[in-house]
Symmetry: C2
Subunit: 454 residues, 2 copies
């Protein structure tokens, strides 16, 4: 595949850029037309790459793109999953270049070439690797498996429409493995394969004090300030050991055996490098666990956004009427998102003092999952990446969530396999998201080899 | 004065509205031209009302308007202070009418007529009462004191430029009393005169965790979230008794005698009405004090604004890089704003955990003050209001702050007198600020009588 990449390099970039230029932000309704454009563009790329057929399917939300190629006599079918929606680009002022005008530039730190754009990695860049590996196998006549592609446009908002669509098209989606590149490797020195992902529960809370903003002088000290109250409530959600202080939160959390923890500990990790990369003096997390364990095998609670009162320039003296927070909880495989969401809502209402009113709005959620290392797909992926990277990949636990994969696993009865080629340095979901060309191409090679060894 | 008001009522409104239509928001630099326009308009109104001279003076910030009239043989000089700047109108969506297009409308609750606009009360409406009472006295030949007017454009941002200007123009400002209408009466049933105001210390804090926004899945649980940390820090600023938990915060707070507390308790106050007006089930404040005491004779700490992370629509899963809060502390007369600001800054830095960086920015501040009830000015005001309202006004302590008055008291050696005609229902600093016509006119009458009895 190396030679093929060299020959078609420029075309690859122009095709990838055509996807990255479309601001397919699923969190913002006003981008709906961009979702349609992006889905249609993917349909075109699928046919160009060699799919027998490709179509855009309407859903209750953003469209689903499905394409496939049948190989006579093929014994196995690979279902490739990816998503074409992206996170909002904000804060815009922190981008060095336009998030939707992709550029190839040198990494300021290492000088290595990378594509910079929102979605460069997550997930347009990574799903593009599958399109090109597929194209290579088709054009060189090396494709020996049936291949199906499903690209959705709602992953970043919890895939609300896909489960129903998948259930309605279960026959169409029949396959032996769900192949996904939407995760990161632990290090570019040592490749890794995700053998598990965390689940997610996401809520928005509103605390209301007085029914109007008040003069902080006339009322300050006598009326509960909803911002202060929200801060007290949020602060109480963790205990002194960094554990989430919601009753029942850990009930379904399975403690890993020493052996399993040792296996995961094989993943290379340099705490000093990690802290330097984030420019922090200390890490912080649940007592008794390492940093990798805190993101890999333990649940957590984070405020993703908070706002209330006057946030403009200058000093407005106001006692606000309301305060708001968006709260996300990452869950381990045995925790059920729906259960945790209930626990949170009940607990949050229960700790609200009588001086305020509380609203809790459920935003999204999904369960985590685990993948057996013994599966043929995992073994094939491991062999492929070992060949490309010259070192055997280690199994890792991803801290992120791909809610829909657990759903598809349940609905279709097929295990996913996560061959992710992102790196920490790619800062997905953040300004200046990028994807190293080295990883983009290594991913294409690894995927092409996966088809050979699977 | 009653008859004079009836005769000139329509002109009064058109003059007042011409002031209210100018969006003189001092907190926002882009309104600088509006400040100039508003100052010039006031100069015109002063001359129209009968001032011998009126001029707009430049300062390091927004202009100061000064005007005066000398009365041959006058024994006393009254210095009228007011401010023509207003609070930002946000949140705009909560206004029933355009904040800068004044209307006279019926109070939705009582049906009484009121002027609705930002500044209708604070302070354009209240300073306008002085212009018209002055005009009446001049035109009817009843003015027996020299009168000077000083109107500033930076009160809502802490009057940063005025102290220097006042010091430079001390001779020009020589007077026997500083007469101010920029406060509220406790009730429209029983008039009150402010005999004290609280001081203010206002700061903005920024908590920084990682140097970039992070994927809350990849890092959540392992890296300190600055929003969670800010919430913990803010929550720790109050103890279980509702006292401010900053070491030394209460060192200079003078406990009032039982007699003084009893005198203040004479002010009429209905807790159920108060809660109903704010639509709250319970009040909240420092243990051991009444609601009026909590705003009148006790200091407090409030978050006026908080923001961090993703606050748009939808569910963005991000671990933010920074979190911010605007924090105001209201101080009692013996607390020094500069001292408390130092205490806060030192304490806030000291409680920051090692996982984050903290910035503390000082925004504004000013000291509180007390006014002797025995002064001739207080007595004249009391007599005037008693005549207009048919009941003797009670002394009260205002919870708000007029930083500049303590400064002027110090620089010029003149006591201020606060004849405020605002009411709680006016919701100054909030949407739908208004001023009852009944109070607007009663204020004009009371002020005219003050000059007679002083």
């Amino acid at each position: 595949m190396k030679a093929y990449i060299q020959t078609h390099r420029e075309r690859f970039f122009s095709e990838l850029f055509s996807l990255l230029r479309i601001p397919s932000v699923s969190a913002k309704p006003e981008h709906r037309p961009d979702m349609e454009r992006c889905a249609d563009r993917l349909r075109g790329l699928l046919l160009d790459a060699g799919a027998d057929e490709a179509a855009v399917y309407g859903t209750a939300g953003n469209p689903v793109v499905f394409g496939s190629k049948a190989v006579p006599g093929a014994e196995k079918t690979v279902l490739v999953y990816g998503h074409y929606d992206v996170q909002p680009p904000e804060p815009l002022e922190k981008w060095r270049t336009d998030p939707f005008e992709p550029v190839i530039a040198a990494d300021p730190a290492t000088g290595e070439s990378a594509v910079y754009a929102r979605g460069a990695n997550d997930d347009k860049g990574q799903l593009f690797m599958h399109l090109k590996a597929f194209e290579f196998l088709v054009r060189t006549g090396a494709l020996k498996h049936n291949v199906k592609f499903i690209f959705e446009g709602e992953e970043e908002i919890g895939s609300p429409s896909l489960p129903a669509w998948v259930a309605d098209h279960a026959d169409l989606l029949k396959a032996d493995v769900i192949l996904v590149s939407d995760t990161t490797m632990i290090s570019d020195k040592v490749p890794s394969i995700n053998c598990g992902m965390r689940g997610l529960a996401y809520l928005e809370v509103t605390v209301t004090g007085p029914d109007k903003d008040l003069h902080s002088g006339h009322y300050g000290g006598a009326v509960a300030n909803p911002v202060n109250v929200l801060c007290e409530m949020v602060a109480s959600l963790h205990d002194a050991d960094g554990r989430v202080a919601i009753p029942g939160f850990y009930d379904d959390v399975v403690e890993l055996s020493a052996a399993d923890r040792a296996l995961l500990a094989r993943a290379p990790f340099d705490l000093e490098e990690y802290k330097a990369f984030l420019d922090i003096r200390e890490v912080r997390g649940e007592k008794g666990y390492t940093t990798l364990e805190r993101t890999g095998i333990r649940p957590c609670l984070d405020v993703c956004g908070i706002w209330g009162g006057y946030t403009g320039t200058g000093a407005k003296t106001v006692l606000p009427s309301t305060a708001h927070a968006k709260i996300s909880m990452r869950l381990v495989p045995d925790q059920r998102s729906a259960v945790i969401t209930d626990l949170f809502e009940r607990h949050f209402r229960s700790i609200a003092p009588p001086e305020v009113k509380v609203e809790v709005q459920r935003c999204e959620g999904g369960d985590g999952f685990l993948i057996p290392l013994s599966s043929p797909a995992y073994q094939a992926a491991s062999k492929a990446m070992a060949e490309v990277y010259g070192i055997e990949p280690v199994p890792s636990r991803g801290g992120g969530s791909i809610a829909i994969l657990a759903e598809m696993q349940r609905i279709l009865g097929i295990d996913p396999l996560l061959m992710g080629f992102g790196l920490e340095r790619d800062t997905i979901h953040s300004p200046n998201e990028s994807f190293l060309l080295r990883q983009l191409f290594a991913g294409m090679e690894s995927i092409a080899l996966f088809y050979q060894y699977y």
